[in-house]
């Protein structure tokens, strides 16, 4: 009976036959675990589609209602907290997997002839994934989301000529308001998924057209004149059907990833909602989600004055370079062992992103607004100039940016042992005149205040043997 139904459907639609032929296309026999990241990215995307559709049953994309519907989903709806977590960790997995997939393709030289467009469409899919991540963070529509929109609009505003218009378009008007959320909802739920579906289709079509690249072998360079013939011979001679000879690894890896995502969602749950999306609540410290924290670090660490050029040309240049890669170098050695610069480039990029990510996560450049007055045990005095100086150190905002022991901020130098480094005259000079990252306090302190502050700082010594 089942066979008869299958035959009937096959006869009328032709689909089982077509899908079967695609599934059983021949792949190189030694394409093993390194090749699972592409399908894992697709798997993560499907998790996002499924969990996103489920969340959309309760989410209302209205600026006045979105926050409360998210509270409902998180706190009351059955499985709501889990689903939000699934969507969040699914997004994280998608970003991670697309990064691993690109790294593997780059290291294996699989972007070379004839797969230039496989790479180019993959780069576009990376861009779409990051846009999905950013817009998804905004749909959380809490205080952090609102200020992230403003930060995004400020960056769009730096684009020459059309910057103001772009910023206006980003905000959906002059300010954050009634039109802001819906545009990000449309981008996140309709436009970007449609683009991703279309480009995933194109990407897969190109994979079928050119075949899965064989693992590289040292001393076997790509020559566009002979590659297609050699690949055809290799596949005809040793190729295995993708289904099930290679697909089982993808299935196992995807299931493992789903279990991991579900476990994270179950154990850690969804990210906490911040304060309500009220732009008049000024006590806010907007931060991007983890996958864009490194970019947050970049914007903080760039030399002053260069941000404008970086914000506009940095992403543009990175995108152009990535897409241009296979058109600049589409032949020659594929093996990473014969391409040491490829390994060096990956290591440098990974090191850069990890370093900036750590910097972004710690954000030492952000003042510490939660700094409490120093404990008397730290101050070492209960009255007199040192005690008054310690109070001024807190009230004048010094502690927001400087560490004393374990207390304070990290924006400026650690002053725990400043008296070991600076004499009194230098302290007065620096406090009075300030610097690039420190305000000048000359007009903000009385002579008595200055004396007390310096008296306190002169007690900040560490006895060294």
């Amino acid at each position: 009976m089942i066979n008869r139904v299958r035959d009937w459907v096959d006869d009328r639609t032709g689909l089982p036959d077509a899908v079967g032929r695609m599934a059983r296309h021949l792949v190189p026999p030694d394409a093993k675990w390194w090749y699972v990241f592409g399908s894992a990215t697709l798997c993560a995307f499907m998790i996002q589609v499924i969990s996103g559709v489920a969340l959309a049953f309760s989410y209302i994309p209205s600026p006045s209602a979105a926050y409360s519907t998210l509270q409902f989903i998180s706190d009351q709806a059955p499985f709501g907290h889990f689903l939000r977590g699934l969507h969040y960790y699914g997004a994280s997995a998608m970003v991670l997997m697309v990064g691993l997939h690109m790294t593997q393709v780059f290291l294996f030289g699989s972007y070379k002839f004839p797969r230039e467009l496989n790479w180019a469409t993959g780069v576009l899919l990376l861009g779409f994934t990051l846009v999905m991540g950013f817009t998804g963070q905004l749909l959380r529509w809490d205080q952090n989301a609102v200020w992230s929109v403003v930060v995004g609009a400020e960056q769009a505003g730096r684009v020459p000529i059309i910057g103001t218009w772009l910023a206006h378009f980003t905000l959906g008007g002059d300010t954050v308001g009634g039109a802001t959320l819906t545009r990000f909802f449309v981008v996140h739920v309709f436009i970007m998924p449609a683009l991703i579906f279309a480009f995933v289709g194109l990407h897969l079509w190109l994979v079928l057209r050119h075949g899965i690249s064989e693992p590289p072998k040292p001393g076997k360079p790509v020559d566009p004149k002979t590659y297609r013939r050699e690949y055809k011979e290799l596949i005809e001679k040793t190729g295995r059907p993708f289904w099930p000879d290679a697909a089982w690894r993808d299935a196992i890896f995807c299931v493992g990833m789903i279990i991991g995502i579900a476990a994270l969602a179950l154990i850690f749950g969804a990210p906490q909602l911040g304060k309500p999306p009220d732009p008049s609540i000024i006590a806010a410290s907007p931060r991007p989600d983890w996958y864009l924290l490194w970019y947050f670090g970049v914007l903080a660490l760039l030399p002053h004055g260069s941000e404008k050029y970086f914000m506009v040309f940095g992403p543009l240049l990175a995108g152009i370079l990535l897409i241009a890669l296979p058109f600049i170098s589409n032949r020659g050695e594929r093996s990473p062992s014969r391409r040491p610069w490829a390994i060096a480039a990956v290591l440098m990029i990974v090191l850069m992103i990890v370093t900036l990510w750590v910097a972004g996560a710690n954000s030492p450049w952000s003042p510490n607004f939660n700094a409490q007055p120093l404990a008397l045990s730290v101050v070492g005095a209960t009255n007199g100039p040192v005690f008054i100086g310690a109070q001024l150190f807190h009230s004048k905002g010094c502690l927001n940016c400087h560490l004393i022991g374990d207390d304070g901020g990290r924006r400026g130098p650690d002053l725990t042992d400043v008296a070991n480094r600076l004499p009194r005259s230098q302290m007065v000079l620096r406090i009075s005149n300030g610097g690039v990252n420190m305000p000048a306090y000359a007009a903000n302190l009385t002579p008595a205040d200055m004396d007390a502050l310096v008296a306190f700082l002169q007690t900040r010594k560490i006895q060294r043997r």
């Binding site: 600026p63 505003g157 910057g163 004048k396 990252n437």
Partner: protein, 180 residues
């Protein structure tokens, strides 16, 4: 010619296209493309207009009262809240805006934007330090809004402020987008 074509069809072979047929096919192809283009245009113009037009429109700014004159102490800087120029009915709390209002003397007020000129984050006022500080990248401004430290490229923007009928009023304004 027709006879010849019929003969070809009967023998199962596709007839060779004549010059006239090629011209006709070209015409039909172009007609189809033109029809498709016209259809797309009919749909695209109103859709693009609907989506894009509001973003070229400029909101007419209005004056919003933020408190009685006597509620602000001379020399103090306080956060004031008010509603946007033309809030949409469904905007909810997102229709709110804020500014830092400094009363300089009996008659003079200065209203500063809360947006840091670096990347737009909301600056906080440290009253005892007489400084505005940005929580994002550590930008600092003096009490008059000039840059004291950090990455901000320009002073805090100021909003028009006036006293009318005993009320301090601030003129609404777009979020200042820095070009530097």
């Amino acid at each position: 010619m027709n006879e010849s074509n019929n003969n070809n069809t009967q023998s199962g072979q596709r007839p060779a296209p004549t010059r006239e047929e090629i011209t006709r096919r070209r015409f039909l192809a172009r007609l189809s493309l033109a029809a498709g283009g016209i259809g797309a245009l009919i749909l695209a113009v109103p859709m693009a207009g609907f989506i894009l037009a509001p973003f070229f429109a400029r909101t007419k700014e209005v004056w919003r009262s933020v408190g009685k004159v006597e509620s602000f102490k001379i020399g103090e800087t306080t956060a004031v809240k008010y509603e946007d120029a033309s809030p949409l009915p469904w905007a909810g709390v997102t229709a709110r805006s804020a500014a830092w209002l400094r009363r300089v003397d009996a008659d003079t007020f200065i209203a500063f934007s809360i947006n840091c000129t670096h990347l737009g984050c909301p600056v906080r006022w440290l009253a005892e330090a007489n400084l505005f500080m940005c929580p994002c990248h550590g930008g600092v401004y003096y009490q008059d809004g000039t840059v004291a430290a950090g990455p901000p490229p320009s002073p805090l923007p100021r909003y028009p402020v006036r006293v009318k009928d005993g009320d301090v009023q601030i003129q609404t304004a777009p979020i200042p987008i820095s070009k530097k």
